[in-house]
Amino acid sequence: MLAAPLAPAATFAQGWAAERYQVEDRKSGYLYLGDQTQALQDDDFLNHAFFAVERGAELWSAVDGAAGVSCASCHGDAAESMRGVTARLPRYDSERDGIINLELLINRERERKLKAEPYAYESEDLLALTAFLAFQSRGIPSEVEIGGAAAPFFEKGREHYFPRRGQLDLSCTQCHDERDGMMLRGDRMSQGQTNGFPFYRLSWHSMGSTHRMFAWCNNAMRAEPYAPASEEYLNLELYVAWRGRGLPIEAPAVRR
Protein backbone atom coordinates (compact mmCIF):
# COMPACT_ATOMS: atom_id res chain seq x y z
CA MET A 1 0.00 0.00 0.00
CA LEU A 2 2.78 2.40 0.90
CA ALA A 3 6.20 2.94 -0.62
CA ALA A 4 8.68 0.09 -0.67
CA PRO A 5 11.14 -0.02 2.23
CA LEU A 6 14.51 1.61 1.82
CA ALA A 7 17.57 0.91 3.89
CA PRO A 8 16.78 0.30 7.57
CA ALA A 9 17.22 3.32 9.77
CA ALA A 10 20.43 2.21 11.40
CA THR A 11 22.42 2.25 8.19
CA PHE A 12 21.90 5.90 7.35
CA ALA A 13 22.03 7.24 10.88
CA GLN A 14 25.70 7.76 11.48
CA GLY A 15 27.67 8.35 14.61
CA TRP A 16 24.95 7.31 16.98
CA ALA A 17 25.53 5.53 20.21
CA ALA A 18 23.15 2.60 20.23
CA GLU A 19 22.34 2.73 23.92
CA ARG A 20 21.52 6.41 23.70
CA TYR A 21 18.88 6.11 21.01
CA GLN A 22 17.71 2.53 21.07
CA VAL A 23 16.44 0.21 23.76
CA GLU A 24 15.67 -3.29 22.55
CA ASP A 25 13.53 -2.67 19.45
CA ARG A 26 12.43 0.78 20.53
CA LYS A 27 14.14 3.46 18.49
CA SER A 28 14.22 7.18 19.03
CA GLY A 29 13.10 9.39 16.16
CA TYR A 30 16.71 10.56 16.07
CA LEU A 31 17.68 7.39 14.21
CA TYR A 32 15.30 8.22 11.39
CA LEU A 33 16.85 11.63 10.71
CA GLY A 34 19.40 12.53 8.10
CA ASP A 35 22.92 13.44 9.14
CA GLN A 36 22.31 17.18 8.93
CA THR A 37 19.26 17.13 11.16
CA GLN A 38 21.08 14.92 13.66
CA ALA A 39 23.94 17.41 13.69
CA LEU A 40 21.44 20.18 14.37
CA GLN A 41 20.16 18.34 17.43
CA ASP A 42 23.60 17.31 18.67
CA ASP A 43 24.99 20.82 18.92
CA ASP A 44 23.36 22.77 21.74
CA PHE A 45 24.53 25.98 20.13
CA LEU A 46 22.87 25.20 16.82
CA ASN A 47 19.78 23.43 18.12
CA HIS A 48 17.01 25.96 17.55
CA ALA A 49 15.06 24.55 20.48
CA PHE A 50 17.56 26.11 22.84
CA PHE A 51 16.01 29.49 22.20
CA ALA A 52 12.98 28.02 23.94
CA VAL A 53 15.08 26.47 26.69
CA GLU A 54 16.70 29.83 27.41
CA ARG A 55 13.33 31.53 27.46
CA GLY A 56 12.07 28.80 29.78
CA ALA A 57 14.96 29.42 32.16
CA GLU A 58 13.96 33.08 32.33
CA LEU A 59 10.33 32.18 33.03
CA TRP A 60 11.40 29.72 35.72
CA SER A 61 12.84 32.50 37.85
CA ALA A 62 10.54 35.32 36.75
CA VAL A 63 8.06 36.53 39.35
CA ASP A 64 4.55 36.32 37.95
CA GLY A 65 1.03 36.48 39.35
CA ALA A 66 -0.60 37.92 42.47
CA ALA A 67 1.41 35.83 44.94
CA GLY A 68 4.62 37.57 43.92
CA VAL A 69 6.66 34.40 43.58
CA SER A 70 8.32 32.48 40.78
CA CYS A 71 8.72 28.78 40.12
CA ALA A 72 12.24 29.06 41.48
CA SER A 73 10.99 30.55 44.78
CA CYS A 74 9.80 27.09 45.83
CA HIS A 75 11.67 24.70 43.55
CA GLY A 76 15.06 26.42 43.53
CA ASP A 77 17.57 25.21 41.00
CA ALA A 78 15.68 23.30 38.32
CA ALA A 79 18.78 21.31 37.43
CA GLU A 80 18.45 19.68 40.84
CA SER A 81 14.77 19.78 41.74
CA MET A 82 13.41 18.94 38.29
CA ARG A 83 15.97 16.32 37.29
CA GLY A 84 14.11 13.24 36.13
CA VAL A 85 10.62 14.69 36.50
CA THR A 86 9.79 14.63 32.79
CA ALA A 87 10.98 11.04 32.49
CA ARG A 88 8.17 9.95 34.85
CA LEU A 89 5.41 11.92 33.11
CA PRO A 90 2.60 11.70 32.22
CA ARG A 91 1.18 10.06 35.34
CA TYR A 92 -2.09 9.39 37.10
CA ASP A 93 -3.38 12.27 39.19
CA SER A 94 -5.98 11.54 41.86
CA GLU A 95 -7.34 15.06 41.90
CA ARG A 96 -8.24 15.00 38.22
CA ASP A 97 -8.95 11.31 38.38
CA GLY A 98 -7.15 11.10 35.11
CA ILE A 99 -3.78 11.51 33.49
CA ILE A 100 -1.77 14.66 34.02
CA ASN A 101 1.20 15.78 31.97
CA LEU A 102 3.92 18.36 32.32
CA GLU A 103 1.92 21.13 30.64
CA LEU A 104 -1.09 20.70 32.91
CA LEU A 105 1.08 20.41 36.02
CA ILE A 106 2.78 23.70 35.20
CA ASN A 107 -0.55 25.42 34.71
CA ARG A 108 -1.98 24.02 37.94
CA GLU A 109 1.01 25.24 39.90
CA ARG A 110 0.73 28.63 38.24
CA GLU A 111 -2.88 28.99 39.28
CA ARG A 112 -2.37 27.75 42.83
CA LYS A 113 1.04 28.91 43.94
CA LEU A 114 1.72 31.88 41.69
CA LYS A 115 -1.92 32.99 41.50
CA ALA A 116 -1.23 33.61 37.84
CA GLU A 117 -3.21 32.94 34.69
CA PRO A 118 -2.54 29.51 33.22
CA TYR A 119 -0.69 29.51 29.93
CA ALA A 120 -2.63 28.66 26.82
CA TYR A 121 -1.79 25.16 25.63
CA GLU A 122 0.80 25.35 22.85
CA SER A 123 1.62 28.96 23.69
CA GLU A 124 5.21 30.05 23.28
CA ASP A 125 5.69 30.47 27.02
CA LEU A 126 4.32 27.05 27.92
CA LEU A 127 6.47 25.42 25.24
CA ALA A 128 9.49 27.31 26.55
CA LEU A 129 8.89 26.20 30.12
CA THR A 130 8.23 22.58 29.18
CA ALA A 131 11.34 22.58 26.98
CA PHE A 132 13.39 23.95 29.86
CA LEU A 133 12.02 21.36 32.29
CA ALA A 134 12.27 18.42 29.91
CA PHE A 135 15.86 19.45 29.23
CA GLN A 136 16.62 18.91 32.94
CA SER A 137 15.87 15.22 32.44
CA ARG A 138 18.05 14.78 29.39
CA GLY A 139 19.65 11.35 29.35
CA ILE A 140 17.34 9.85 31.97
CA PRO A 141 15.42 6.80 30.71
CA SER A 142 11.71 7.37 30.37
CA GLU A 143 9.77 5.25 32.85
CA VAL A 144 6.08 5.89 33.38
CA GLU A 145 3.78 4.24 35.89
CA ILE A 146 0.99 2.32 34.16
CA GLY A 147 -0.24 0.11 36.99
CA GLY A 148 -2.67 0.83 39.81
CA ALA A 149 -4.96 3.76 39.31
CA ALA A 150 -3.31 4.60 35.96
CA ALA A 151 -4.22 1.21 34.47
CA PRO A 152 -7.70 2.05 33.10
CA PHE A 153 -6.38 5.23 31.47
CA PHE A 154 -3.44 3.38 30.04
CA GLU A 155 -5.89 0.88 28.55
CA LYS A 156 -7.87 3.70 26.97
CA GLY A 157 -4.68 5.07 25.50
CA ARG A 158 -3.84 1.68 24.07
CA GLU A 159 -7.33 1.38 22.65
CA HIS A 160 -6.82 4.71 20.92
CA TYR A 161 -3.63 3.52 19.27
CA PHE A 162 -4.86 0.51 17.33
CA PRO A 163 -8.21 1.28 15.65
CA ARG A 164 -8.24 2.70 12.14
CA ARG A 165 -9.53 6.23 11.90
CA GLY A 166 -10.05 9.06 9.44
CA GLN A 167 -10.76 9.09 5.73
CA LEU A 168 -7.50 7.31 5.02
CA ASP A 169 -8.56 4.56 7.39
CA LEU A 170 -5.18 4.32 9.10
CA SER A 171 -4.27 3.45 12.65
CA CYS A 172 -1.25 4.70 14.59
CA THR A 173 0.27 1.24 14.59
CA GLN A 174 0.19 0.84 10.81
CA CYS A 175 2.74 3.60 10.33
CA HIS A 176 4.65 3.57 13.59
CA ASP A 177 4.99 -0.15 14.29
CA GLU A 178 4.59 -1.87 10.95
CA ARG A 179 6.21 0.66 8.62
CA ASP A 180 8.75 2.68 10.57
CA GLY A 181 11.78 3.48 8.46
CA MET A 182 9.77 3.51 5.22
CA MET A 183 9.05 6.62 3.24
CA LEU A 184 5.70 8.34 3.45
CA ARG A 185 6.04 10.57 0.40
CA GLY A 186 9.02 12.79 1.27
CA ASP A 187 9.20 11.86 4.91
CA ARG A 188 10.63 8.87 6.68
CA MET A 189 8.26 7.44 9.24
CA SER A 190 9.61 6.91 12.72
CA GLN A 191 8.24 4.85 15.56
CA GLY A 192 6.58 7.98 16.88
CA GLN A 193 8.44 7.98 20.18
CA THR A 194 7.95 10.98 22.45
CA ASN A 195 11.24 11.06 24.35
CA GLY A 196 12.33 14.21 22.51
CA PHE A 197 9.29 16.36 23.26
CA PRO A 198 8.74 19.23 23.29
CA PHE A 199 10.71 19.41 20.08
CA TYR A 200 11.67 21.85 17.38
CA ARG A 201 10.05 20.84 14.13
CA LEU A 202 11.76 22.19 11.04
CA SER A 203 8.62 22.08 8.94
CA TRP A 204 6.78 24.15 11.54
CA HIS A 205 9.67 26.53 12.20
CA SER A 206 8.65 26.30 15.82
CA MET A 207 8.44 24.22 18.94
CA GLY A 208 5.66 21.70 19.35
CA SER A 209 4.18 19.54 22.08
CA THR A 210 3.15 15.90 21.91
CA HIS A 211 -0.49 16.95 21.57
CA ARG A 212 0.22 19.19 18.62
CA MET A 213 2.00 16.27 16.99
CA PHE A 214 -0.92 13.93 17.73
CA ALA A 215 -3.27 16.46 16.17
CA TRP A 216 -0.96 16.80 13.17
CA CYS A 217 -0.94 13.01 12.73
CA ASN A 218 -4.74 12.90 12.97
CA ASN A 219 -5.03 15.63 10.36
CA ALA A 220 -2.58 13.84 8.09
CA MET A 221 -4.76 10.73 8.14
CA ARG A 222 -7.74 13.02 7.58
CA ALA A 223 -9.25 12.32 10.95
CA GLU A 224 -10.80 14.96 13.17
CA PRO A 225 -8.14 15.82 15.76
CA TYR A 226 -8.98 16.02 19.45
CA ALA A 227 -8.34 19.19 21.40
CA PRO A 228 -4.98 19.67 23.09
CA ALA A 229 -5.10 18.49 26.71
CA SER A 230 -8.17 16.36 25.94
CA GLU A 231 -8.54 13.12 27.89
CA GLU A 232 -8.04 11.18 24.65
CA TYR A 233 -4.63 12.71 24.02
CA LEU A 234 -3.56 12.51 27.67
CA ASN A 235 -4.33 8.79 27.74
CA LEU A 236 -2.59 8.35 24.41
CA GLU A 237 0.40 10.28 25.71
CA LEU A 238 0.71 7.80 28.57
CA TYR A 239 0.48 4.81 26.25
CA VAL A 240 3.01 6.26 23.83
CA ALA A 241 5.41 7.13 26.66
CA TRP A 242 5.18 3.51 27.85
CA ARG A 243 5.79 2.32 24.29
CA GLY A 244 9.11 4.15 24.44
CA ARG A 245 9.97 2.99 27.98
CA GLY A 246 13.67 3.03 28.65
CA LEU A 247 14.51 5.50 25.90
CA PRO A 248 16.56 8.33 27.40
CA ILE A 249 14.90 11.74 27.37
CA GLU A 250 16.33 13.62 24.41
CA ALA A 251 14.47 16.88 24.80
CA PRO A 252 14.64 19.29 23.21
CA ALA A 253 14.93 17.27 20.03
CA VAL A 254 15.00 18.47 16.43
CA ARG A 255 12.80 16.71 13.92
CA ARG A 256 11.79 17.35 10.33
Binding site: F45, L46, H48, F51, R55, E124, H205
Partner: protein, 108 residues
Protein backbone atom coordinates in the same frame (compact mmCIF):
# COMPACT_ATOMS: atom_id res chain seq x y z
CA UNK B 1 9.00 32.75 18.31
CA UNK B 2 11.03 35.22 20.26
CA UNK B 3 12.22 37.68 17.67
CA UNK B 4 15.61 39.24 17.67
CA UNK B 5 17.18 36.83 20.11
CA UNK B 6 20.70 36.07 19.10
CA UNK B 7 23.50 33.81 20.18
CA UNK B 8 27.18 33.86 19.27
CA UNK B 9 30.18 31.64 19.91
CA UNK B 10 33.68 33.12 19.92
CA UNK B 11 36.70 31.40 21.54
CA UNK B 12 37.54 33.17 24.81
CA UNK B 13 41.24 32.92 24.21
CA UNK B 14 43.33 32.30 21.13
CA UNK B 15 46.99 32.38 20.17
CA UNK B 16 48.10 35.30 18.02
CA UNK B 17 47.74 34.40 14.37
CA UNK B 18 45.49 31.43 15.12
CA UNK B 19 42.56 30.74 12.81
CA UNK B 20 39.39 30.82 14.88
CA UNK B 21 35.82 29.86 14.09
CA UNK B 22 33.04 32.29 14.87
CA UNK B 23 29.42 31.17 14.99
CA UNK B 24 26.28 33.25 15.10
CA UNK B 25 22.64 32.28 15.31
CA UNK B 26 19.59 34.53 15.30
CA UNK B 27 16.03 33.64 16.17
CA UNK B 28 13.94 35.11 13.39
CA UNK B 29 10.95 33.90 11.33
CA UNK B 30 12.51 35.04 8.02
CA UNK B 31 9.08 35.31 6.37
CA UNK B 32 9.76 35.26 2.65
CA UNK B 33 6.69 37.22 1.57
CA UNK B 34 5.25 34.41 -0.52
CA UNK B 35 3.24 32.70 2.20
CA UNK B 36 -0.43 33.19 2.97
CA UNK B 37 -2.35 32.97 6.20
CA UNK B 38 -5.38 30.72 6.53
CA UNK B 39 -7.63 33.67 5.72
CA UNK B 40 -5.88 34.32 2.41
CA UNK B 41 -3.95 37.45 3.32
CA UNK B 42 -0.28 37.55 2.48
CA UNK B 43 2.32 37.37 5.24
CA UNK B 44 4.58 40.32 4.41
CA UNK B 45 8.25 39.80 3.78
CA UNK B 46 10.18 40.13 7.02
CA UNK B 47 13.74 38.92 6.91
CA UNK B 48 17.15 39.82 8.19
CA UNK B 49 18.71 41.29 5.07
CA UNK B 50 22.18 42.06 6.31
CA UNK B 51 24.63 40.66 8.81
CA UNK B 52 27.85 42.38 9.85
CA UNK B 53 30.71 41.57 12.17
CA UNK B 54 33.30 44.01 13.53
CA UNK B 55 36.56 43.01 15.14
CA UNK B 56 37.76 45.95 17.21
CA UNK B 57 35.62 48.30 15.12
CA UNK B 58 36.97 47.00 11.83
CA UNK B 59 34.47 45.27 9.56
CA UNK B 60 35.74 41.73 9.02
CA UNK B 61 32.65 39.97 7.72
CA UNK B 62 29.37 40.99 6.11
CA UNK B 63 26.65 39.20 4.24
CA UNK B 64 23.58 40.32 2.31
CA UNK B 65 20.72 37.92 2.81
CA UNK B 66 17.68 37.49 0.63
CA UNK B 67 14.49 35.45 0.78
CA UNK B 68 15.03 31.68 0.90
CA UNK B 69 17.38 31.93 3.86
CA UNK B 70 15.73 29.68 6.41
CA UNK B 71 14.17 30.74 9.69
CA UNK B 72 16.63 31.13 12.57
CA UNK B 73 19.59 31.77 10.27
CA UNK B 74 22.93 30.33 11.35
CA UNK B 75 26.28 31.41 10.00
CA UNK B 76 29.83 30.42 10.79
CA UNK B 77 33.08 31.77 9.40
CA UNK B 78 36.77 31.85 10.19
CA UNK B 79 39.06 34.73 10.93
CA UNK B 80 42.56 35.26 12.27
CA UNK B 81 43.01 36.21 15.91
CA UNK B 82 45.11 39.36 15.68
CA UNK B 83 44.67 41.15 18.99
CA UNK B 84 42.57 41.10 22.16
CA UNK B 85 39.35 43.01 22.00
CA UNK B 86 35.69 42.89 21.20
CA UNK B 87 33.83 41.28 18.34
CA UNK B 88 30.52 42.97 17.57
CA UNK B 89 27.70 41.36 15.63
CA UNK B 90 24.82 43.17 13.94
CA UNK B 91 21.72 41.79 12.25
CA UNK B 92 19.59 44.25 10.24
CA UNK B 93 16.00 43.30 9.61
CA UNK B 94 13.34 44.66 7.26
CA UNK B 95 11.53 46.52 10.04
CA UNK B 96 14.61 48.61 10.64
CA UNK B 97 15.48 46.78 13.83
CA UNK B 98 19.11 46.05 14.51
CA UNK B 99 19.95 43.19 16.82
CA UNK B 100 23.38 43.34 18.35
CA UNK B 101 25.57 40.98 20.26
CA UNK B 102 29.19 41.21 21.31
CA UNK B 103 31.87 38.88 22.57
CA UNK B 104 35.29 39.38 24.08
CA UNK B 105 38.39 37.63 22.90
CA UNK B 106 41.78 37.50 24.57
CA UNK B 107 44.74 36.94 22.28
CA UNK B 108 47.87 35.68 23.99
Amino acid sequence: MADGITRVAVPETAAKGEIIEIKALASHPMDNGFMFRDNGTRIPRWIIHRFEVDYNDELIFAADWHVAISANPYISFHTIATESGTINFRWFDDNGDIYTESAKITVV
